[in-house]
């Protein structure tokens, strides 16, 4: 496993206290309340205090139309339960009404979910977090101009678009029981995003996700679909997930990963028909985390809400490398978890219709497809921290190359954001010196010095009232990975450009 010199993973977690109060309607299985249940479990398990917790700004109309069509977003912004009558035709056109009902605060809900995922992606882009989590997101069915499967705005696509600004290749992995059709469609023709979905296929929503759907045009073979049958258990799932993902990582070599953690693939889900437990589901998180690439974890489906909250709590703990007790802590919704009040769930005795033979054959076929992918030039599949550093050094290198260039205030703000962000709201007073608490771990001085020399412009800002040698955030991060090759910083930057 790769080295993490700062000892622990930095997690940014996105949540808005209002999200639990959006209500799809009577009898509708999608319940945003499950996100609040997760939040309360995180708080009472003591995981909350181990993360950077953010409340995202709602995504703006402009941000959402980065992917969605203006008309569709305009419609979502305007429609309300009390004016539905005026929009009959559009409702039909945008598939709003039945599965995707009009409810109070619909657009705000979309804004929160998308705002969280976009902010999380930006956080990863800025290297201010190793893993960003937004359980409000993961709405993978939404199309460019159409709602589908309880999803209105596709926060995943929006966040991937954000990641693509900094990453040549982004990997999307979907372990929801439903096919991630919205995301697959959005990136069906590009080779910069590979979408991998493991889902139930056959007489099941949304009806896409055939093994033979591999992408089109430049994106051919960049859509990977593993069709599954009823009743898959932890063991079988692991047996296919790990080899397939290893192959995907090897052939695609992404620099960032987005993982949709739809919890309807768990056993006993109201709409699902798989037989996974938290352990099997969480193993996917564990496995992808090992690559130490910027990882965006999103929510998704999940309709037995007590199990959804269990699952996402457990997966947050996995992301934090923290063991949590099987005994659930008391919280506002403790009674929901009866009769056992335990974290982990047990699989049912349903039959696993995925025979080993079937799984193996599908896997073989997927491997054949993945072999068609041209190997990404210039970037080796190396242990992990390289990537993080490479991009950091990009910034540094850029400064070196053009020292006379004036960087915008905005940019310079961005550079110090790492230090200052914890103290926004404290106006006038610069107390960044307390940053020393952030990483008490040994900072390897040579690298730090090197970086500091290279960033003279920042010094006037950073130099003020520091209690220890000024540590710029990006520099500190760089220092964190002590084992980076000490090659000239400019080189990797060019490499990126060559991609």
């Amino acid at each position: 496993m790769a080295v993490q010199t700062h000892g622990k993973t930095r997690i940014s977690y996105y949540y808005d206290g209002d999200v639990g109060n959006y209500y799809y309607g009577q009898g509708h299985p999608m319940k945003p309340h499950r996100i609040r249940m997760t939040h309360n479990l995180l708080l009472n398990y003591g995981l909350y205090r181990k993360m950077e917790v953010y409340r995202p700004q709602p995504a703006t109309f402009e941000e959402m139309t980065k992917y969605h069509s203006d008309e569709y977003m305009m419609f979502l912004r305007n429609i309300r339960p009390d004016n539905m009558g005026e929009y009959n035709k559009q409702m039909q056109r945008f598939n709003v009404g039945e599965d995707c009902p009009v409810f109070d605060g619909l657009f705000e809900f979309c804004q929160l979910s998308s705002g969280g995922s976009i902010a999380a992606a930006i956080k990863l882009n800025k290297k201010q977090a190793d893993i960003a989590i937004n359980w409000m997101g993961g709405l993978h069915h939404a199309k460019k101009s159409e709602a589908s499967g309880f999803c209105y705005s596709n926060d995943i696509v929006l966040s991937i678009l954000e990641l693509l600004k900094y990453h040549q290749r982004v990997l999307y992995v979907d372990i929801d029981i439903h096919h991630g059709d919205g995301v697959e469609e959005a990136f069906y023709t590009t080779d910069r995003v590979m979408t991998v979905s493991f889902h139930k296929y056959g007489e099941y929503f949304p009806g896409t996700g055939d093994l033979r759907d591999v992408g089109a045009g430049r994106g051919k073979n960049y859509a990977v679909n593993f069709p599954l049958r009823d009743g898959i258990d932890d063991e079988s799932y692991e047996q296919i997930f790990i080899p397939v993902m290893e192959k995907v990582m090897e052939s695609f070599q992404p620099s960032a990963i987005v993982l949709q953690c739809g919890a309807d693939s768990l056993t006993g889900d109201r709409l699902g028909c798989f037989n996974l437990t938290l352990k099997g589901h969480g193993k996917c998180v564990k496995f992808l985390k090992k690559y130490n690439l910027p990882l965006l974890m999103l929510g998704g489906g999940g309709y037995t809400i007590r199990n959804v909250a269990r699952c996402w709590t457990y997966e947050t703990a996995v992301a934090l490398d923290t063991e949590i007790a099987n005994e659930l802590p008391y919280n506002d919704y403790f009674e929901y978890y009866g009769p056992d009040f335990k974290l982990h769930i047990t699989p049912s005795n349903m039959t696993n219709q995925n025979t080993p033979d079937y799984l193996e054959k599908i896997q073989t076929r997927l491997f054949e497809n993945l072999r068609m992918i041209p190997h990404a030039p210039g970037v080796q599949m190396q242990p992990i921290p390289d990537d993080a550093i490479r991009n950091l050094n990009d910034d540094v290198a850029e400064d070196m190359i053009d020292p006379d260039k004036r960087i915008s205030i905005r940019d310079s703000d961005k550079m110090i954001e790492d230090d200052g962000e914890y103290y926004e709201g404290e106006e006038g007073e610069d107390r960044r010196n307390e940053e020393s608490h952030k990483r008490p771990a040994p900072v390897s001085p040579p690298t730090t010095d090197l970086d500091l020399v290279k960033k003279p412009k920042l010094e006037d800002k950073d130099g003020v009232d520091k209690t220890e040698p000024p540590v710029d955030a990006s520099a500190a991060s760089a220092a964190d990975s002590a084992d980076i090759p000490t090659e000239p910083e400019a080189a990797p930057a060019e490499k990126t450009a060559a991609d």
Partner: protein, 769 residues
């Protein structure tokens, strides 16, 4: 044990007829009926033998699925002798387009709305019944089916099913074992199925009413309308990397980069709870609701207090001293971070003294809580309505928050218990023991020893001579036999090991030549079977609808109604005057209204009541009739009663003619519109004068008949005005006899505004007593 446990989602064999092969079904729901029997609501799978040969022929000759390399855009037209079916077959491949749920607009564009529709009446005559060996195509079979011999392919075809979205209800006792049905995947080979018993596959969806086969596949669309715009070139140059998000794009609420230990935080949280307890003691509205100190402490320990404490800690820069001060702020906004409220969406009501954080659970008064419970009983979880009609001063989100917290209370648990008792009828699994009764087709007595005996003729399927049991198979006059193994195989797979001309003999009653394509589901069980409406089938797959088919009202009991779903057959119960007279004249022991009402299933001796009436003096009858009619008795009737006895003897006997109808008022509604009791048919049986009256009334209520189905009655202003002029007594009279020729009614009728929604009289049942 486990193998006899059947649960929702299992694929099972159902035995509908002892002489026919099992039917393959998937259990969608298991319901316990009032009689204690278990009914299974099942999704139907069709075998090849159940589908028209012409349709199969087209499906089989589809070009084999393209490998993924050539798949894009390439579409080869199959070469069939018939040009029409060629086009239709091509449409099958595109079936995914029209059947996909993802794009509605696309559905309209697709060339043929009913691909592969075959008019059976004509095609069956034109083409001889197709035998499997005539079918050359390998479409729908696993990859590599072209390399296996004819006999194996014949067996493989028996494993091919067609999914239908049709739901029917069958008694669970007819289950005869489990099987597995999977969507065929191209990586599978014939061995994937031939080597496993009870394994079936499907790749097409059959619509029994439209007689179409469609591929069950969605589609990912390509085009600028669907894909995100991505620069295929490189990453954004650094200067472009500025985020488009305006700052601040997020608010930090908490971070772990401070010097506090876990214990520090825990201690601080305890202090926060302690402050909360104290603040509740000071707060009058709280102290009223919280009778004990214990409960006050519990209220102060809710998550909103903890979350708010964490937010204060953050705003205090992780300085415990400062955070402590924030917990007990002075009455000044300068000394309190109001921003912390945004984290918890909690509103700090007043500053000064210990801070009080309350969630909706605490905010609500006992009266409001009662209102809420009343409302939820009435409206269910329609919070918009609840807010509008019960709690208009609450915000919708507060109601939702309260609802989710209310669910943790004892009161909810109690209300749920009532619901749980109701839901008990819905089962998750059911135990069906192995079925051991000998099949009627068994030849001779059961052979318990299992010793093979020689049959009268070799097995039609495997040609063996020896078997422990022999079964009669094929048309009776042919005297054909199957060995025990082949009989089981025939029941399960719907075919013999070899191609046989009588393979589908059971479908034609064994007499004529085998023919396929008839609608085979016999309603042998007498249980109503539902069918999804054809118009809805194409839309039936929704993200949760597909699993809940039927729950959302998509399932219709009884006959499919072309006009749309209907919950029940409308009927109009008309009691004739003579029946009413007879009832009045009956003695207590013969007819006790109260007793009958209490025990609706207790049979009523209608015949005796009638006889009792007939034996009375006509004058007495007339008297009673006058009591009922209030002196306005039609002259014809008076004549009939006073003079002609036979009129009385022909009292209508509708109730006695319908066996199984215990109550006098039980409507005869067998769901079959064709056999609906037609009042005019009754009339000739009555003596002339009575008949005349009946005819006159007939006209009146035939007018009503047309409207009895889902009538929306609109009282316009003039009707309301007329109503106001009526006395209470008149009003009651009109209400009791809505179709009586009555001065008031005639005055009313012209101005009455009726809107009949579905003016389809087929399903109306008028019951005449």
């Amino acid at each position: 044990m486990a193998q006899n446990m059947y649960r929702v989602g299992d694929y099972v064999y159902f035995e509908i007829s002892s002489a026919a092969p099992f039917q393959v079904r998937r259990i969608e729901e298991l319901n316990k009926t009032s009689t204690g029997n278990v009914e299974a609501k099942v999704m139907c799978f069709y075998r090849r033998r159940d589908i028209s040969p012409a349709l199969l022929k087209i499906a089989d000759q589809l070009p084999p699925e393209k490998g993924e390399k050539e798949k894009e855009k390439e579409k080869e037209k199959p070469t069939t002798e018939n040009g029409g079916s060629e086009a239709a077959a091509a449409a099958v491949e595109e079936g995914g387009l029209s059947n996909g749920t993802t794009k509605r607009e696309e559905r309209d564009d697709s060339a043929s709305p009913t691909p592969m529709q075959v008019d059976e009446s004509t095609t069956e005559k034109e083409e001889p019944p197709a035998k499997p060996k005539d079918v050359d195509g390998n479409a729908g079979l696993p990859t590599g089916a072209d390399r296996i011999d004819v006999r194996e392919r014949h067996r493989l075809r028996q494993r091919e099913l067609f999914l239908s979205r049709q739901i029917e209800t069958l008694p669970a006792t007819h289950i005869r074992g489990k099987c597995v049905v999977t969507l065929l995947n191209e990586v599978e080979t014939p061995d994937s199925y031939l080597t496993r018993d009870d394994a079936f596959f499907y790749s097409l969806v059959y619509d029994p009413s439209a007689k179409t086969l469609l591929a069950d596949k969605g589609e990912i669309k390509v085009g600028s309308k669907y894909q995100a715009e991505i620069t295929q070139s490189d990453l954004l140059a650094d200067e472009q990397r500025t985020s488009d998000r305006p700052d601040p794009m997020e608010t930090l609420v908490f971070h772990p980069n401070h010097s506090l230990t876990d214990r520090d935080i825990d201690q601080f949280l305890i202090v926060a709870r302690a402050v909360g307890t104290f603040s509740r003691a000071l707060d009058t509205s709280s102290s009223v609701k919280l009778p004990s100190l214990h409960m006050t402490a519990a209220a102060a320990s809710r998550d909103v207090t903890l979350l708010h404490a964490m937010a204060l800690l953050h705003h205090a820069n992780y300085d415990l001293g400062q955070a402590m001060k924030y917990l007990v702020p002075p009455p000044s906004k300068q000394h309190y971070p109001l921003d912390a409220d945004k984290t918890t969406s909690h509103n700090t009501v007043s500053l000064g003294g210990p801070i009080l954080c309350r969630d909706q659970m605490e905010e609500w008064s006992a009266a409001e809580a009662n209102l809420f419970e009343e409302a939820i009983e009435k409206y269910g979880k329609d919070f918009n309505d609840i807010r509008q009609d019960f709690l208009p001063w609450k915000a919708l989100k507060d109601i939702v928050e309260y609802y989710y917290m209310w669910k943790t209370t004892d009161r909810y648990v109690q209300s749920k218990r009532v619901k749980a008792a109701e839901a008990e009828s819905r089962l998750k699994q059911v135990y069906i023991p192995n079925y051991n009764k000998p099949n009627p087709n068994l030849v001779g007595p059961p052979n318990p020893t299992g010793q093979p005996v020689k049959g009268t003729s070799p097995c039609e399927s495997c040609e063996t001579d020896m078997s422990p049991q022999w079964y009669a198979w094929g048309p009776a006059q042919m005297q054909m036999r199957l060995c025990a193994d082949c009989w089981t195989a025939w029941k399960k797979n719907g075919g013999l090991k070899r191609d046989h001309e009588w393979e589908t003999y059971d479908k034609t009653g064994g007499g004529s030549k085998p023919l396929g394509g008839t609608d085979f589901v016999q309603n042998a069980t007498g249980i109503t079977r539902g069918a999804t409406l054809p118009s809805q089938q194409s839309h039936s797959r929704s993200a949760f609808g597909s699993q809940q088919m039927g729950k959302s009202g998509r399932l219709v009991q009884g006959m499919p109604n072309p006009n749309g779903p209907k919950t029940r057959v409308a009927f109009f119960l008309h009691t004739t005057l003579m029946t009413r007279v007879a009832r009045r004249l009956a003695t207590r022991s013969l007819f006790n209204v109260r007793k009958s009402a209490r025990k609706p299933f207790l049979p009523i001796a209608a015949q005796a009541i009638k006889q009792n009436c007939q034996s009375r003096d006509p004058k007495e009858i007339l008297k009673v009739a006058k009591q009922i009619k209030g002196g306005r008795l039609p002259q014809g009737l008076i004549d009939a009663l006073s003079g002609v006895r036979p009129a009385v003897t022909s009292l209508p006997t509708a109730t006695t003619t319908s066996p199984g109808t215990a109550s006098l008022k039980r409507p005869v509604s067998n769901g079959d519109s064709k056999t609906t009791p037609q009042p005019p048919a009754k009339a000739p049986r009555q003596a002339a004068p009575v008949a005349m009256v009946a005819m006159a009334q007939q006209q009146m209520y035939s007018r009503w008949m047309a409207l009895t189905e889902d009538v929306l009655y609109l009282a316009n202003r003039s009707v309301k005005r007329i109503r106001r002029t009526l006395t209470n007594r008149q009003m009651r009279k009109v209400a009791r006899g809505p179709c009586k020729p009555n001065a008031v009614v005639t005055k009313l009728l012209p101005s009455v505004g009726f809107v009949a929604l579905a003016a389809n009289t087929n399903n109306n049942v008028v019951v005449v007593e």
